[in-house]
């Protein structure tokens, strides 16, 4: 595939992620922070997020599996995940966390279990999306091209 075609594909793919709600404007902030002195910033932060979220999801699974669920602890973990997902622009994960916290507030175990599944699913989905995104970027760079930037207001 020609460089121009891959670049167009990346732009279209990224736009679709915004349209489908996977990403929000905060992701653009992240991209803007990347520069020549830190060319892998986005990749690094996103990777950190997935490492961190995996740990949190494990903690949440364990916490919900206890005979006496500690809702405060549960909420604290979800709060962390909500914060991180919000900071990288992973909108659907963030929204799933908001719903989760509501069930923690009213101490509804069933609701929490459903939400946990939902959060796991959203993390899984957005992880795949990012992997595709980074793969396209790598293809572009390998062809000697530069990664096109997305402008707001598309």
């Amino acid at each position: 595939m020609e460089l121009v075609q891959i670049q167009r594909r990346l732009v279209d793919y990224t736009k679709s992620l915004f349209m489908e709600g996977f990403l929000d404007a905060q992701f653009l902030q992240l991209q803007q922070l990347q520069d020549d002195s830190n060319p892998d910033f986005v990749f690094e932060v996103v990777s950190l997020f997935f490492e961190d979220s995996e740990k949190l999801l494990n903690e949440l699974t364990i916490a919900l599996d206890q005979p006496n669920v500690d809702f405060k602890k549960l909420d604290s973990h979800v709060h962390q995940l909500k914060g991180s997902s919000s900071s990288i622009g992973a909108q659907r994960v963030k929204n799933a966390c908001i719903a989760f916290r509501n069930y923690c507030d009213v101490q509804n175990i069933e609701g929490c279990l459903t939400c946990l599944q939902q959060v796991k699913q959203e993390c899984y989905l957005v992880k795949n999306k990012f992997e595709t995104l980074f793969r396209l970027e790598q293809q572009i760079m390998a062809s000697g091209g530069s990664v096109p930037t997305i402008e707001l207001g598309f």
């Binding site: 905060q26 520069d35 690094e44 914060g83 919000s86 900071s87």
Partner: protein, 162 residues
């Protein structure tokens, strides 16, 4: 990791990013950024460094106080010493010591009480905001932080320059 003491010499700017704080301050302000969330800590550090700040990060209030020389195991004698930092920016919700409690400790210190403290939170709770401002916080910022927030922070701080 306790703190990261990073080299503040950060040449080069990203396309269209925040103006250089060096120009405004005449030097690189040293900022202590406190947040228990690793991703947020990474983000705020980058935002500040992109504005030519020297940044030290701490993952909780206790570590922050230790860095500032207000730790419980430090001799309580900061007489004649100057604050190491020009600004403290801290998350509100942290385990152990909240950002509010950290703010109070800083304001109680004769050496550090003039250091501007900015509180960040992902939650927009007016009572919380007022509580922090009343305790002497310079600003309250909503997370996630953006470059425009750092610009606004800089403008706000300039008013308080001696």
């Amino acid at each position: 990791m306790l703190y990261q003491i990073m080299d503040g010499d950060y040449g080069g700017s990203c396309g269209g990013c925040a103006e250089d704080m060096t120009v405004e301050f005449g030097y690189e302000p040293h900022v202590l950024a406190v947040d228990d969330n690793l991703i947020d800590r990474t983000l705020v550090e980058k935002l500040l460094k992109n504005s030519s700040c020297k940044v030290t990060t701490a993952e909780n209030g206790l570590r922050a106080l230790e860095f500032l020389g207000l730790g419980s195991d430090e001799r309580n004698s900061l007489e004649g010493t100057v604050s190491k930092v020009n600004l403290v920016i801290t998350d509100y919700c942290m385990p152990g010591m909240t950002g509010y409690e950290l703010l109070k400790k800083i304001k109680e210190s004769s050496v550090l009480k003039e250091v501007p403290v900015v509180i960040m939170s992902s939650e927009n709770i007016p009572t919380r905001i007022n509580q922090c401002l009343e305790e002497g916080a310079q600003m309250f910022m909503l997370k996630p932080l953006k470059q425009s927030d750092v610009k606004q922070l800089k403008r706000h701080l300039m008013k308080y320059r001696s």
